[in-house]
Symmetry: C2
Subunit: 201 residues, 2 copies
Amino acid sequence: MNYPSQVLELVVNEFAKLPGIGKKTALRLALHLIKRKKNDLVFFSESLLKLANDLRYCTLCHNVSDSNLCEICSSFSRKKEQLCVVEDLRDVMAIENTQQYFGVYHVLGGVIAPMEGIGPDTLNVNSLLKRVETGEIKEIILALNATMEGDTTAFYISKKLQPYDVKISTISRGISVGGELEYADEITLGRAITSRVNYGG
Amino acid sequence: MNYPSQVLELVVNEFAKLPGIGKKTALRLALHLIKRKKNDLVFFSESLLKLANDLRYCTLCHNVSDSNLCEICSSFSRKKEQLCVVEDLRDVMAIENTQQYFGVYHVLGGVIAPMEGIGPDTLNVNSLLKRVETGEIKEIILALNATMEGDTTAFYISKKLQPYDVKISTISRGISVGGELEYADEITLGRAITSRVNYGG
């Protein structure tokens, strides 16, 4: 496509690099930005620059943070002996939204995916083992996605954790609340039956 | 949603202001940006700043441009007596891609849409009339979308142009090339019949 302006083309190309955004959508977004106030555009630009310069990662749990220790890790009200292992910060946010978990987290930064070249070494597994070595942690909850990669990663971590004296659990799989049996897939329903719990508990 | 970082929240909110992008998609885009190299992010930020500061509009046709006169208006090979009236720059790009039009353009910057508060005064209609007044223009092609708003705008402009000695035409409506009659809607098919042309011409 021939753009009437090189500046516009630059922005369209940058938007088109984002996942799920093609050239046509990128152009639509750029045109929307042009129509807005100039100050809004400057603010957008500055917020991206801030993201590049000011974003930190928690040195303990590797979650995105504004300082070297995230709010959860530095909170006195969280149980430091309970550790929830997740893939990325979206999972942390999802679990936090439930308001049912009061321990701390460990963000792996991905899952083992050999096809994409992601091995255990690129994930934050070693720092997890170091945290366990201190003996502070009593329970580890593996809260990974119920996918092939998530299960593989959970298996790998559980093997690595065997030498240590920690209780390892995973979040339960089953029928979602409000879900109907006849619409559940066979594997989920099968798992829900095999991992049945006592009624009322 | 509670974000683990204010810097991240800032960027997510900015992305979520764009059309068709909700909070979840915005977060996905922001996380994608974090994973890329820092330089890429700085470059993205700078390109937006350039868009805010360096983008110009052609003083003649109101198309987006890098200078005060766009490439098309300043080209010697374009027919200056033929003027194509379009809604926005995407239409210019679409027509340019056909490589069938060699005149110049006039970008209205929208169409008359009373429901959205867009009246004729907010569009570049007066500057169009001024261009026509010079007597340079012999033909005006109204290439507006085949919507209610597009037709209304075309009607308004054609009325405004009546006092001047210019030929006014609109792009033809009809069955798209490769299209089958049985799948065309009634209105399109009806228009295609009433505005039939001589075979071979």
